[in-house]
């Protein structure tokens, strides 16, 4: 089956700096990818998604980059703020579309 992994379990950045969180996936047929943010004590929340026919997608202060050649995607957060402190993980749908595989998450800490 699919496996999804993140490269770093923890990441600390200074407030105002940019953050980059990475994720690798195993199934080259995956055609849709999602990033979630999970704050302490809460359920995961959707941040941004990207389809495999795109290399880049931008949202508000967030950008997701997809490199299908090496099966890697990244989430970039511009001008990181204390409110960005959370666990971030990527998710890849099962081929049926009814299930998702989730990475283990990167815990982002923003240092004031």
């Amino acid at each position: 089956g699919e496996s999804v992994g993140l490269h770093l379990p923890t990441l600390s950045v200074q407030e105002g700096d940019n953050s980059i969180i990475n994720c690798a996936y195993s199934n080259s047929a995956s055609d849709y990818f999602i990033w979630y943010k999970q704050e302490s004590g809460k359920g995961p929340q959707f941040i941004i998604d990207i389809r495999s026919n795109m290399d880049k997608r931008q949202g508000q202060r967030v950008t997701v980059l997809l490199n299908k050649t090496v099966k890697h995607l990244s989430l970039q957060i511009a001008a990181t703020q204390p409110g960005d402190s959370a666990v971030y993980f990527c998710a890849v749908p099962h081929y049926t579309g009814n299930q998702f595989y989730f990475g283990t998450g990167t815990s982002l800490t923003v240092i004031p």
Partner: protein, 110 residues
């Protein structure tokens, strides 16, 4: 939050006792899911439902059962809780290509 609530939000129980967690949604979504979240493992699918009385197993279904007698409610039951089932449990629904999660239930099995 897609109208998802979970109850209870916290529970402490003893090994061998039955436990039922409830997920309730208000927006008539067809697909509902139960995940557990543990350090180092991320979210792992326990069971999911694709309609009333229609359920299927996920990656870590052993020791768990589910029921869905109404569209809005999806119940997760631990027939005889074990310490390895200490975890945070999340319910989710699908809306298009996205999944929306409930607030979670923290279960401790002593």
């Amino acid at each position: 939050d897609a109208g998802i609530t979970q109850s209870p939000r916290h529970k402490v129980t003893e090994t061998g006792t039955p436990v039922t967690l409830r997920c309730h949604q208000t927006e008539n979504h067809r697909y509902m899911y139960w995940y557990r979240q543990d350090p180092g493992h991320g979210l792992r699918l326990i069971h999911y439902s694709y309609g009333v009385k229609d359920t299927d197993k996920g990656e870590v279904s052993d020791g768990y059962s589910v029921s869905r007698s109404k569209t809005e409610d999806f119940l997760l039951t631990l027939e005889s809780a074990t310490s390895s089932q200490t975890s945070v449990y999340f319910c989710a629904i699908s809306q298009g290509n996205e999944q929306f999660f409930g607030p979670g239930t923290r279960l401790t099995v002593l």
